[in-house]
Amino acid sequence: MRRAHLLGLGFLSPALAIILMLFLIPVLLTVMFSFTNMSTATGISGGAYEINAASLRKLADAGAQESFVETLGKESFVVDDAGITAAAAAYGEQFANEVGSQMLGERFSSRRDLERAFRKLKSRPRSTRDIKKAANLFKRSVLNIRFETAGGLVGAVTDNGIEMTPDQQELLTKTIYTGWTWTSDNFALMAQIPYVWRVAGNTVLYVVLTLAASVGLGLFLAITTFYLPSSSATSFRAIWFLPRILPNVIFVLMWKWLAWDTGFLSSLFANFGVPPRNWMLDTGVNAWVFIVLINGIVGASLGMILFGSAIKSIPQSMLHASEVDGASRWQQICYIILPQLRWPIMFICAYSTLSLLTSFEYILLSTDGGPGGATEVWSLMAFHTALDNYAGNLQYGLGAAMALMLVIVGILASLVYLRIFNFNDLVAKPRIEQ
């Protein structure tokens, strides 16, 4: 490899690193997470096996036989070496040896049966209370014990004399595992969420309305500033560009001030006897108006710059020609300027569709999907599910599955756009001969 090649690679490496870190790895992780059931409850590291009251209920819900669940929950009494050693320490070698020699390996389903057996021994403790205590030393249960592996759990259960069919064993280990597991249930689960179709509809509405607003406003600004004297045009463009360079939070905060029940709009309308209200969150329609305005005004600045430079690249003589051909300003815009803005307009549409699909920061900051989920869009739903759940259980897996849908839609849309645009045409030499 020549040194020039290495140098080129060197210059490229920041871009490659950014693509890797900010695109490829996140996408891969999203795909990975979407096939798990990770949540706050499971944690993101491994889990353990533990039978307790809650997991028994889960087991019953999962369809285990009632008798099986009952047996698992029951205590049993087994005379084993561990119990004998404990008895030796508490009630003397003699008693322990007698138990060991006469009863080793015996199994009792209740404490009373074991106590009865103890009473037949010569060296038994004298008081009834001590016999009860001694019996307790032999109590064996799988309840409330953490096992690191499924094998440990199964071993303990069989040690306790509980018989399991292979089906039951599988159901048990699957149900009571406290960590995350690989699963494809997220996608089925997503389809079952009752509001998911409304959110999908909201997303389409959001993209279409915002796109229309930003392209329309951007075109209007580009054309009007084109006909203005250049000095005032520059200041107008600068003003309209402000929202884009303003921090998002401050921009949205100003809208909130405008719309709050003690804000500008309410104070203004109070003069006309309109009761104050939160104009942004008052109704779903209001919320949508604000969402479209907030996003549209930010989007318009990009359109304004792009369309403005595209208009400027139309040769002056072509505009002069249309003037002497008798075209009025309006006809000039319709017949000469707009047709030549076809490519920039299509580019903005394509680019904005993709970025709007995944962007939710302005909605999050302004309505947070409200009122009552009226402005909840897909990306915001994924965010809420995975990272900002009201109920407190953050479902990383389900959220990732939702995000994966966006990735798929985005990639499909990009492919369609590349086909429509015929990318080679876009990077070809300008069509307008100077």
Binding site: P315, S317, M318, H320, A321, S322, E323, V324, D325, G326, A327, S328, Q331, Y335, I336, P339, Q340, R342, R431, I432, E433, Q434
Partner: protein
């Protein structure tokens, strides 16, 4: 239609490009605005079609004052240097555009487009896009678009500048043919004196925002009003000899060679500086008024040969002769000037 420009002044910011210019163009005439770059000829053209507003002065089309009329309403056709065809429309739509914005009926538009396309010979190209046309074809489309709504005036802004040499020749006669066929008043802006002379009835030669001379091509060639005009017209260009008046004759600078002054001109006082202009065709071996020199440059142009002859004081005379004259570089020659055709200029450059 007659165009008259009266006391026209145009400035961009602080720069005054044209000051107090007046020009009259007759009905059906084709006039060339000729001059070097930056002389204000295109500015004048844009003022006539209304793209530039005049800072002062008056513009009349016939008997109508159009000074304040917008370019949309002036009814002029313009052919721009780069043709300014609309790239997103095909040839038919390009030509029909001036009618479309006037909302004429489809049938009417179609009839007129076919008619004009026939006139400029592009009938078979109507469905093409401008990109798919050669320079000459684009030129014809631009002409058709300019002529379609029967404008009162046709303005051509360097229409041949973007064409190759062969096409330029062809389009030169084509434009003239179409102008004569339609009888339209036309103004041609060009910096090429051959175009101006070959295509136009009259030439207005401009320099620094002023019209230096306004006359027919032949008259301007033979009777230039100043050495600037004489130097601008003619290819190969005229050669100038600097000198002074001595004993009623012209004496070359730094030399003892004297030449008689052409008859009928007023000789400035003794010792005053003077300039002789000699066109190449009037410096020939056969002429009687011999000037000795040395061939310093030979250029073969096929039918003719062009020689530069350096005189003993370093001044250069040009001669154009039919081929096979056989002079070589460095050869000592003594060729003659045709005395009556010498153009004499005074110290300020004006013709004597």
């Amino acid at each position: 239609m007659r165009i008259s420009i009266e006391n026209f002044t145009k400035s961009f910011g602080d720069t005054t490009v044209i000051e107090d210019m007046s020009l009259e163009i007759g009905d059906g005439e084709m006039l060339a605005l000729l001059g070097p770059s930056g002389c204000g000829k295109s500015t004048t053209l844009f003022a006539i079609c209304g793209i530039h507003r005049m800072n002062a002065g008056r513009l009349m089309f016939g008997d109508t004052d159009v000074t304040e009329v917008s370019s949309q309403k002036r009814n002029v056709g313009v052919v721009f240097q780069n043709y300014a065809l609309y790239p997103h429309m095909n040839v038919y739509e390009n030509i029909a555009f001036p009618l479309k914005v006037r909302k004429e009926s489809k049938a009417e538009v179609d009839r007129k487009v076919q008619e004009i396309a026939g006139l400029v010979h592009i009938g078979e190209l109507l469905q093409r896009r401008p990109m798919q046309l050669s320079g000459g074809q684009q030129q014809r489309v631009a002409l058709a678009r300019a002529l379609i709504r029967k404008p009162d005036i046709l303005l051509l802004d360097e229409p041949l500048a973007n064409l190759d040499a062969k096409l330029r020749l062809e389009m030169r006669s084509e434009i003239r043919r179409i102008q004569l066929a339609t009888g339209i008043t036309a103004v041609l802006v060009t910096h090429d004196q051959v175009e101006a002379m070959s295509m136009c009835d009259r030439i207005a030669l401009m320099d620094k925002g002023q019209i230096v001379q306004l006359s027919t091509p032949k008259d301007m060639y033979e009777n230039p009003s100043s050495d600037f005009v004489a130097g601008f017209l003619g290819n190969p260009p005229i050669a100038f000899l600097d000198g002074t008046v001595a004993d009623g004759e012209f004496r070359l600078a730094n030399s003892q060679v004297t030449l008689p002054v052409p008859s009928g001109i007023e000789i400035p006082g003794e010792g005053a500086p003077m300039r002789f202009g000699v066109r190449p065709e009037f410096f020939q071996p056969g002429n009687p008024l011999k000037v000795p020199g040395k061939v310093s440059f030979v250029e073969t142009q096929g039918r003719e040969e062009l020689y530069d002859v350096m005189l003993e004081n370093g001044a250069v005379l040009r001669s154009i002769q039919s081929q096979n004259a056989g002079f070589r570089l460095g050869q000592e020659v003594s060729w003659g000037i045709e005395q009556d055709r010498v153009l004499a200029f005074g110290p300020d450059g004006n013709r004597l």
